[in-house]
Amino acid sequence: MSGRRRSEWRIDGQRLRAMVVKEGVQILRDPSTILIAIALPVLLLFLFGYAINLDNSRTRIGLALQDDSAAALSLASAYRHSPYFDVVVERTAAPLREQLIAGEIRGIVVIPQDFGSGAARGQRPPIQIIADGSQPNAANFTSAYARGVAQTWAAQEARAAGLRAPPPTELSLRFWYNPSLASRYFLVPGAIAIVITMIGTLLTSLVIAREWERGTMEAMMATPMRMSEFLASKIVPYFLLALASMAMCTVLATTVFGVPLRGSLFALLVLTMAYLMPALGQGLFISAATKNQFVASQVALLSGFLPTFLLSGFLFEIASMPKWIQAITYIVPARYFIPALQTVFLAGDIWSLILPAIGYLLVFGAIFFLLCFRASRRSLDK
């Protein structure tokens, strides 16, 4: 038994080469692999580069101008000239309410009737800002910007009136590594991680499942090939495919999307190779355990794509999630990969962050390969 096990781990170079060539030909022949390796990366980078824009742009709001005093008109013109807003002006709030319900505007600013007269008495009533809470994130931005316009206007009025307030403490914000605050800069590396996950986990999981479903697995078993050779022959081509895709993504990210690459290509390569271990291992394990393409694809989507998208911290802050979900994120390999990838792109080779990430990834990879080896061997014994 122990002799047999040892032999299973050995790899015969010539046989492996033959198998890798066979797999490679299969990959190149299937248009869907090309779709995933070339079309999907382009599509994802494109969508994350342009469609997912967390940087607020001009928001359409309604302005209910219930007062026509000089002060009210001056505030209204402050809103009209704000770079953050496109303003629709009405005399009352009622028609704007309809537009807010229909989603044509994202908020309403109400300048009340006694705004001017109150200001003359030194008791200016506050204006009312109504945001569309059905989109909470946008609502936050809308009310923050709307309030900002009013505060700036009030400060200017006070200065014009010769009032002197004690100087408030100023905050000087410096955003390291992304001073222009382009969300694209951190989203594009995240999209690259998704691409690598798709190739490593999803594509690979479909491959062995297909062998089982089509019955070619039995044919494989009849050959003198060892288990280790079989697994290696499935891994090597997709490993190379993923690296090629990574190279393409890096070129696209830096040229088309203008994402800086401040770290070294060496760090990028080492990190990607480390991430491919758990990604490929997971894919192989899923296929060996499910033996059905439909089930494998769904499991891969659920355990590979979704956690990379949701639980890696690239779009949603992990610290803001409930504690038990935070605990789950620790077993998501992308949680370690994505910050390291963002660091290599935006900050540089910060090895004190990259090396621990690589360490975690290799441990996850080893666990998956062990699981995979067991699952495949058991099934061969059957």
Binding site: D30, A51, I101, I130, N137, L206, R210, L302, L306
Partner: protein
């Protein structure tokens, strides 16, 4: 009619026969419900912040105390030097770090203009910006409290309609219905024809006395049922378990759902007719699902996208159903508004189904 019934039963049976795929129809939507609901929040809270306080006077201590008391900030890390600060930011141990220079309290006491430096991690620029606004508020409040200056009457008061506390779950669950229906609908539809083709049973189906239309309709039923059931479960769970209000009309919601499902199934059939193998069908449906979801307004508002991309989103059926779902849950949108969303959805459904049927015939001959 009986032929149609027979093929429909056969298709449902094909989907439910395998115990593994039965599980796959149930477990993923439930897991997605839980994880999506709690994980996908753009809120920022409980983040760790560093402080390099070289002044340690009344005002700077007040700032640090207020930081510690803020519900949005988790742990405060005391930093000893600029190197310490750089290290904490670089290793992402903190998302932001305040730098209070030695002369801060002296200048503050003299009533001069003061300044607090903040270094933020631009690798997470969206969250960092939000943290920056929290810090601004905290520092302003701390200054006012130490000076004992009354805060001026507010220039503006802000409220939120439809979701007064901006509870993220109220947005998430109605949007999630769209995501789940899209993922399940597209992947199941795309598999149907491709699977028969790969297993070679498609030829048998073609030599049967069934017409092409009957085969097509039979294949549309299972994804339709799955999408319908998923959406219904979510509709109930959102209200009963998560307490999301449903203010609109159930009828209008289902009108939107049915039209959306038809549009989606058309897309799925198109992919399926193009695919020769299940792998191609699956990958094809994934490539179709991603833009459907990302261009729907779920991940970020459509208004934030560049103009030319906003125009493209008009062709995305999910855009309309997301608006209907949110509108019926939170905004009690009247029928007149929903109709405005519904007719483009009908047009898209007709177009995708016609395209799928055409391709289907073309590939069969």
């Amino acid at each position: 009619m009986s032929a149609l019934r027979a093929i429909t039963i056969k298709e449902i049976w094909a989907l439910l026969r395998d115990p593994k795929s039965r599980i796959v129809l149930v477990i993923p939507p439930l897991l997605q419900l839980v994880i999506f609901t709690f994980a996908s929040t753009l809120e920022v809270k409980n983040v760790d912040v560093g402080v390099l306080d070289r002044s340690t006077g009344t005002a700077s201590v007040e700032i640090v105390n207020r930081l510690a008391g803020s519900p949005n900030i988790g742990t405060i890390r005391r930093l000893r030097s600029h190197d310490d600060l750089a290290e904490a930011i670089d290793r992402q141990e903190v998302i932001a770090a305040l730098v209070i220079e030695p002369d801060f309290d002296r200048a503050f006491a003299r009533g001069q203009a003061t300044r607090v430096g903040v270094v933020l991690d631009g690798r997470r620029s969206n969250a960092a910006q939000i943290v920056g606004s929290y810090l601004q508020q905290i520092v302003t409040d701390a200054g006012a409290s130490v000076r004992g200056t009354e805060r001026a009457p507010p220039v503006a008061v802000a409220i939120n309609w439809f979701n007064p506390n901006l509870d993220y779950i109220w947005f998430n669950l109605p949007s999630l219905i769209v995501v789940i229906v899209s993922v399940a609908g597209l992947s199941i539809t795309a598999q149907t024809v491709a699977r028969e083709r790969e297993l070679g049973t498609f030829d048998q189906l073609m030599v049967s006395p069934l017409s092409v239309r009957q085969i097509l309709i039979g294949k549309m039923v299972p994804p339709f049922i799955v999408g319908f059931v998923n959406a219904t479960v979510y509709l109930v769970v959102a209200q009963v378990v998560f307490g999301v209000p449903f203010t609109g009309s159930v009828l209008l919601f289902y009108l939107g759902l049915v039209t959306y499902l038809l549009a989606l199934i058309g897309v799925g059939m198109f992919v399926s007719a193009l695919s020769m193998t299940q792998q191609q069908a699956f990958l094809g449906s994934f490539v179709a699902t991603v833009p459907v979801i990302l261009l729907s307004g779920f991940a970020s508002p459509i208004g934030n996208m560049p103009q030319w991309l906003q125009i493209i989103t008009y062709a995305n059926p999910a855009r309309y159903f997301l608006e209907i779902s949110l509108g019926q849950f939170l905004k009690a949108q009247p029928a007149s508004v929903v109709l405005g969303e519904l007719w483009p959805l009908v047009l898209i459904a007709v177009a995708t189904l016609a395209a799928a049927a055409w391709l289907f015939r073309a590939r069969m001959e």
